[in-house]
């Protein structure tokens, strides 16, 4: 058996050596992280995995894992060389590979919470699989790793973390940056800890089998393999001395076999020749074609609009969201909710999840305070086919999980060649006017509207919260669902604003169309007003003042989808009015309104525009100060009148 494993490892060695050659000849873009010296670890470990059943979450140094887990050199090379037919269409490259049960990702610890989420999905789906999640010793510096440790133990999921400890993180010797001991750290979380060395391959095979069995029975653990990295981290970034390196090479099992055993040497040379021939074949293939679709299609259901029907008149927004969650959880057992303080009797900071944990205990996870791991776990659940709904208690805290949203959720679909979907929904209560101060009052949507691969939705008092939330959960794209905390206790608005009616333009945009109103009696509007989310309330009061005091009529749009932005019906209106004001509670610079006005000014000549948004300062706590910083009805009325006055009629 051991000879077979060594042969497998030699194949990986031959592959990695060839990569160095291809890289030198500029056949591969970016960089590569080869695992020369670490091949045996993966090969011995994977001997115990069931390739049909089990799942591997790998890291930046993933070629060895990929080949050991049953992937072929041809697939890997085609991807790295960006040729037609590549598994991830040339978008993932060396570090971001997907194939059935194999995922790799280049961010340290970025995948650890997703691995936990995937393992939780396995448990919920009552399967017998186990998830192996690779980390390096450099990963021990990342906070998310420890969040993932605690989540895995709390959820008792079938996961085995594998620490390939080569003693060096890029160019830094790990000893210099690691405090305490790895064993103590791991055991402090209640994980099982097993330590091995790849100089003893038989021992790895045997202990790994025990660790994997343990994990399969919902006892998560960490499998620590001491190993050696014989080459640079990527290319040309090795600062170790030649003496040091030759000492390491002397210990290496594979090079000893190649040098001292003619049989193995022959096998190794044959592998190398095969792979070089293969790379030659692939280099003659066509390049992969560029595609711009960064986000899956919206749900197929033919929704006409999300304005609420009058029968829901007497409901408050919060109650409807709560009801909707209950209904969706009862209708679809793939839906899971997670977040801080969401369980009964508290039921969430804004009571949106009240009563849910009592009904669906298994599918509700009231998490530790760990936003990054909440989203990471949700990502993993989504990769495994579940439909997680995560709650981030205050929008301000999205910065804590921004890496998970931007580098993980938003990337999977495109990066893995459209093969993988990440249908997570992140509910985000946001907004000010409550005196919660600089770090609990922000509207963070514009941080995410510029990120391709995300769908950003904004709920307002005019949307049917139940329908929009259901749509978001059914969506195959990662959805950021911005709610406004001041809207929760409000009744849903069902009658149009004074002097207005719902516009027919509504129907033309699909499927997260804006809600549009136009003046009654088919009067021509003087101005186009655009807003979303919590600012709806303010703008509608301003619209009334504009009509009654100043006889100004408007076309009024409430955006539903903030990213990717759709403009069609707004453009139609601006063509007529030549005048637009956007009102938002988001950031003063680089917000949705800025984006809209930029698009408008590219599409039209001579359009007069205005923006109403908060001042360029953090939001103060004192009520009277906060009022000055955030938009007000007076600001809006002023801005509209100024914008109309500067319309260039000549």
């Amino acid at each position: 058996m051991m000879n077979k494993l060594i042969e497998k490892a030699l194949y990986i060695r031959a592959f990695e050596e060839t990569l160095h050659e291809l890289f030198r000849r500029n056949f591969i873009s970016g960089t590569i992280h080869t695992c020369i010296g670490q091949e045996m670890a993966a090969v011995c470990l994977y001997h115990n995995l069931n390739k049909e059943l089990d799942i591997v979450f790998s890291n930046h140094r993933c070629h060895g894992h990929y080949l050991a887990f049953g992937g072929t050199a041809e697939e890997l090379l085609t991807e790295m060389m960006g040729r037609n037919g590549a598994i991830c269409k040339g978008r993932g490259g060396s570090q971001h590979i997907w194939r059935n049960h194999f995922f790799s990702n280049g961010i340290q610890a970025g995948f650890t919470a997703a691995a936990v989420g995937y393992a939780w999905a396995i448990k919920l789906q009552k399967k017998r699989s186990v998830v192996v999640c690779h980390i390096g010793d450099g990963t021990l510096g990342e906070g998310l790793l420890y969040e993932a440790f605690s989540f895995s133990v709390l959820l008792e999921v079938p996961i085995l973390f594998v620490l390939e400890d080569n003693g060096i993180a890029q160019s830094t010797i790990t000893k210099q940056t690691l405090t305490g001991s790895v064993k103590d750290r791991v055991e402090a979380f209640g994980l099982a800890y097993i330590e091995t060395d790849d100089l003893e391959p038989e021992k790895i095979v045997q202990t790994a089998s025990e660790a994997i069995d343990l994990a399969r029975n919902f006892k998560p653990g960490l499998f620590h393999i001491k190993t050696r990295r014989l080459c640079a981290h990527s290319k040309g970034d090795d600062t170790r001395s030649t003496e040091e390196l030759s000492e390491l090479w002397a210990k290496d099992i594979l090079s000893t076999k190649i040098n001292n055993n003619p049989e193995f040497n022959q096998v190794y040379q044959k592998f190398k020749a095969d792979i070089i021939r293969l790379s030659g074949q692939i280099s003659r293939q066509e390049y992969a074609v560029y595609e711009s679709k960064a986000i899956p299609e919206p749900p197929p259901k033919n929704y006409t609009d999300c304005a609420i029907s009058t029968k829901d008149k007497k409901y408050r927004q919060g109650e409807l969201l709560n009801q909707a969650l209950k209904e969706i959880l009862s209708a679809d057992d793939k839906v899971v909710i997670l977040g801080e303080d969401i369980a009964d009797p508290y039921g969430g900071a804004f009571k949106i999840t009240k009563g849910i944990s009592s009904l669906y205990n298994q599918r509700v996870f009231s998490t530790p305070i760990a936003e990054a791991a909440i989203i990471g776990t949700a990502n993993g659940l989504a990769l495994a086919g579940m439909r997680p709904v995560a709650e981030i208690m205050f929008a301000d805290f999205t910065t804590l999980c921004a890496d998970q949203i931007i580098n993980q959720s938003a990337k999977y679909y495109y990066m893995y060649g459209g093969n993988v979907k990440c249908p997570i929904t992140i509910r985000i209560p946001s907004g000010g006017y409550r005196g919660y101060g600089p770090t609990h009052s922000q509207s963070m949507e514009s941080l995410f509207t510029g990120i391709p691969g995300l769908r950003v939705l904004a709920l307002s008092r005019r949307h049917n919260p139940a329908m929009l939330l259901e749509k978001a959960i059914c969506d195959n794209a990662p959805v950021l669902f911005f709610e406004n905390k001041t809207d929760y206790p409000d009744y849903i608005l069902t009658t149009p604003p004074a002097g207005m009616k719902q516009s027919v333009a509504q129907k033309s945009d699909t499927p997260y169309s804006p809600i549009c109103f136009c003046p009654l009696d088919d009067l021509k509007a003087d101005i186009t007003l655009v807003t979303y989310g919590g600012a709806v309330k303010l703008l509608e009061r301003a619209i009334e003042v504009l009509l009654i005091e100043y006889e100004i009529l408007c076309d009024y749009f409430i955006l539903t989808q903030l990213s990717p932005l759709r403009f069609q019906s707004i453009f139609e209106s601006v063509k007529q009015t030549r005048c637009l004001v956007a009102v938002e509670e988001g950031f003063c610079r680089g917000g949705v309104g800025d984006e809209l006005i930029s698009e408008i000014s590219q599409a039209f000549n001579r359009v007069s525009t205005g923006l109403v948004r908060p001042h360029f300062v953090p939001i103060p706590t004192a009520r009277h100060l906060e009022k000055q910083v955030l938009p007000s009805v007076e600001n809006i009325v002023d801005s509209v009148r100024k914008t109309i006055a500067k319309v260039d009629k000549n």
């Binding site: 009571k351 005196g435 009744y491 009654i548 006889e551």
Partner: protein
């Protein structure tokens, strides 16, 4: 009258603080208007009006209230309320069934002055001052028609004050134009956007046209062309095509038909009709006349006051009455040179 009670917002809290009234005591409120803010331990809540009417506040701001407590009342009309109602409350009046009509402040004043009410208007959702004026104007005319029992010229019923008002408003517009663009234009162009007019006529992008121009029949104009005041573009005798970046000077006239023979024969002969075309990038200087059937190439310069008839190649200088080709134009990048033929 309806009462406003503190609603049950959180299941585990009975007490809340009424932080702020959004609406003044005695003011008019409409369904959905936020009335006041309640604050609980972590949530603050706006409570909306559930009925139209005038608000009576019972509890002061910053008071601790309990669920079910009555904090205010909404009265259907202002007499019940303790404080006065200003004359010019936004008038939202419920007509018959569910038709809500919005009356602007200005309109309300005018209606009051002229003793009108909503029933006098045709069924509509918004009444602005403009609508009231329209109605008044129509009523005056109706009255006149009734009195004189004969068709009438509406303008003769414009009162002197109305005319003064109109003049006044036009003067304001003229002044604005002078301040903004340092120019005085005839009233037509003052009131109409030159680019919109051109685009309404189907001319190309960026083309502008003074309201004082006369455009007949089938006239095609390219992009970024300037059509000056008092020009005549006649497409009644066939297509008149004018290219892009052409300057049609003030008072220029371009024809596709003439009635010479018709006139000379006392109407026995018909009009003669021919297509006329002006190429791209031509400058037609003021007061020039281009006759039917004329074809002018690109980059041509027609000097002021010329009468042009015939066919002219590109890059020509065209001058005189009748006009001849008197030279050629050379263009190198931004530079233009005029080379006049030597006189014989």
């Amino acid at each position: 009258m309806s009462i406003i009670q503190v609603p049950q917002i959180s299941t585990n809290e009975e007490k809340a603080i009424l932080i702020e009234w959004f609406v003044d005591d005695g003011s008019f409120v409409r369904i959905g208007d936020p009335l006041f803010t309640l604050e609980l331990s972590k949530v603050a809540t706006d409570i909306d009006a559930e009925e139209n009417g005038f608000l009576e506040q019972i509890v002061h701001e910053d008071t601790v209230v309990t669920v079910g407590q009555i904090v205010g009342k909404i009265h259907p009309d202002s007499k019940d309320s303790r404080s006065q109602i200003k004359d010019l409350q936004p008038e939202v009046i419920k007509e018959n069934k569910n038709d809500i009509c919005v009356v602007t402040k200005k309109a309300a004043v005018l209606m009051k002055e002229n003793d009108l009410n909503i029933g006098d208007f045709p069924k509509q959702g918004i009444i602005r001052s403009e609508d009231v004026n329209c109605l008044l104007f129509r009523n005056i005319n109706l009255q006149k028609i009734k009195n004189s029992n004969s068709p009438c010229n509406t303008s003769q019923y414009m009162s002197n004050t109305d005319i003064d008002k109109l003049k006044n408003q036009l003067n304001i517009l003229h002044r604005q134009m002078r301040e903004k663009y340092d120019r005085h234009v005839p009233t037509g162009t003052l009131l109409n956007d030159r680019w919109n007019q051109a685009s309404d006529y189907g001319f190309g992008r960026g083309t502008s046209m003074y309201d004082e121009a006369l455009i007949l029949g089938n006239v095609q104009v390219g992009e970024n062309t300037w059509i000056g005041p008092f020009s005549v573009l006649d497409g009644s005798g066939g297509e008149l095509s004018i290219g892009s970046f052409v300057s049609i000077g003030s008072g220029c006239q371009v024809y596709t038909h003439d009635s010479i023979k018709w006139a000379l024969t006392g109407g026995n002969a018909s009009f003669s009709k021919k297509m006329t075309s002006v190429g791209d990038c031509c400058f037609i200087a003021p007061m020039s006349i281009i006759g039917p059937g004329t074809i002018i190439g690109n980059h041509c310069f027609v000097t002021a006051g010329s009468f042009v008839n015939g066919e002219f190649d590109s890059n020509s200088i065209i001058s005189g009455s009748p006009a001849k080709r008197v030279g050629k134009i050379r263009i190198k990048g931004k530079n233009v040179s005029f080379q006049y033929d030597k006189e014989e």
